[in-house]
Symmetry: C2
Subunit: 322 residues, 2 copies
């Protein structure tokens, strides 16, 4: 008999699942589309089927399943395992833990995906060995996670650490959330795409003109990377602007949290690590005090697409003790 763990990264577009053993090795993976538009029951079924497929493809005995851990989007009450609300998901006050524990007869723990990703980086990745960590993920939106004294911090209602919605300009551009001037309105892929499209409309030449033409979605990190590496001016200046404002957000967090390390992850950082980090580092002294900066490292995240899976494993161990 073995102690096995199932770890899930539940996202708006796909569900990643993995079986991990006691040595924190990934033994088996399954990936499935989320299809949130099919509604909440269908999404629950798809999550269940990822777990069932993992167990059957690995030939796993049900009694070897020690616990299931998950990262999921939205505001999640980690104590009850309820998702209070989640953007792009058919979830409002959704009792995810109850549903999964009934199906699998094993403990199920869940946290906000970005929080869980930072937990993964702290336990297995770039922030290993530190007690006070700020993690920022630069993707479609800007998410964050905070470790204080070796514990994930989420505030009294488990809804805190909304780093992306820290306002860095009170009269700044409108954010998806309805506020103005949030960090997310400057440094997310949504914001980058908005700037690029504005540039294209002004007639600024760019290799991204055809890539973005007629498309509603945000730019893919890889397309942005290709354009920047080719020296495209609009792409480069837009990325630098996003990273400059990211430095402002990081500066605030350093002055508030006085962390030992800030880790930067997410699609844009994975694609353009050197460019983002160099712009952040060359501007950060404008936004954070020098005696704080001296104590703080700024590094890229390490676990990439596996951050939430490893974080789910860490969440199991932090919450349940194994």
């Amino acid at each position: 008999m073995a102690d096995l763990f199932i770890c899930l990264d539940i996202g708006g577009s796909k569900i990643l699942g993995a079986i991990m053993n006691e040595k924190d090795e990934i033994l088996c993976r399954v990936k499935k589309k989320t299809k949130p538009k099919l509604g909440r029951d269908a999404v629950d079924d798809r999550i269940k089927s990822v777990i069932h497929e993992l167990m059957s493809s690995y030939g796993m005995d049900k009694k070897d399943l020690k616990a299931i851990g998950a990262g999921a989007p939205g505001v999640i009450d980690t104590k009850s395992g309820n998702v209070r609300i989640a953007p792009n998901m058919p979830w409002t006050d959704h009792p995810l833990r109850k549903i999964m524990e009934e199906e699998f007869q094993a403990p199920f723990v869940v946290g906000n995906d970005v929080n869980v990703g930072v937990l993964g980086e702290w336990k297995y990745g770039a922030a290993r060995g530190y007690s006070n960590v700020v993690g920022i993920f630069m993707g479609t939106g800007i998410g964050g996670g905070i470790i204080i004294d070796g514990k994930l911090f989420t505030g009294s209602g488990s809804a805190g650490a909304e780093i992306g919605h820290m306002i860095i300009n009170t009269e700044g551009p409108l954010c998806n959330c309805g506020q103005r001037g949030c960090l997310e309105a400057y440094s997310s892929k949504v914001a980058i795409t908005r700037e690029l499209k504005a540039g294209i409309e002004m007639g600024i030449p760019t290799v991204l003109k055809d890539v973005l033409k007629g498309k509603d979605e945000v730019i893919r990190s890889n397309d942005l990377k290709k354009a920047v590496l080719r020296g495209d001016q609009l792409a480069t200046s837009t990325l630098r602007r996003a990273a400059y404002y990211l430095a402002a957000g990081i500066g605030n967090l350093i002055n508030i949290f006085n962390p030992e390390i800030v880790i930067l992850g997410g699609g844009v950082v994975e694609a353009l690590e050197d460019e983002v980090l160099s712009t952040v580092k060359s501007n950060i002294s404008r936004f954070a005090w020098s005696h704080m900066l001296e104590q703080t490292q700024i590094k890229a995240a390490q676990l990439k697409d596996d951050a939430v899976l490893y974080g789910a494993r860490a969440l199991i161990s932090e919450t349940l003790g194994y």
Copy 2:
């Protein structure tokens, strides 16, 4: 034999001292000017003399002195009791604890004055009974303190919680600290004074013209209060502007910390509580998410000038256990 505590509020202009008993009653008080320009040894002597005067005027036996607690300005390493740096004080890497313990042969604990004031409000004042608290003090500068899970949070280098230097406008006005657009550059008395003087120079009529004439210092909270209560337009609009930006800062802190309560204190709030709180409350929904706001109370601090004294008592009990 009694267990007595000496509590100190060491400020740039005055040192307040009090003897407190086990029931947390203040038995005796002494107040003395700090005179920081006399240099570090003189300031140490003045702190010592406050303690000696307290003991002699109360007729206190040296063996009844259980511990000394203090709040002091600047960046303080609470573990070592060293002041790393303090504005307006002759202190750089100053071993305050060592000096005081040698003199009085009793444990000495010290923390940043605003942090300690928030600790006082949490243990004895407006934030009693809450576990997650953000405190903001609107005085000459903007200071803050954060309680997380019932513990004072100061970051890994004890230098965090620099709420006043959170940037709310990346291109905003220059702050004393050298950054731009800090909350302190909008909502402190320094900022309020700057706005008032600019208004006077523009020829805007105000009852504060003579009050501020030729003076370098920041406006006194009471003078501001008198002008606002008389309906002075420049004073009123300047105060509202400061409180509006304070709301922006509070909103960020709510989205990050998801606290149960935000307490507002400091000279301006003490003088103009209704005006500051009503402006904050009517603007805060622009800067914080509604589901966070629903969980957060915003209240005035209660302990006024005694916040740091009571906080020093709380610091003794949190650090030393009695």
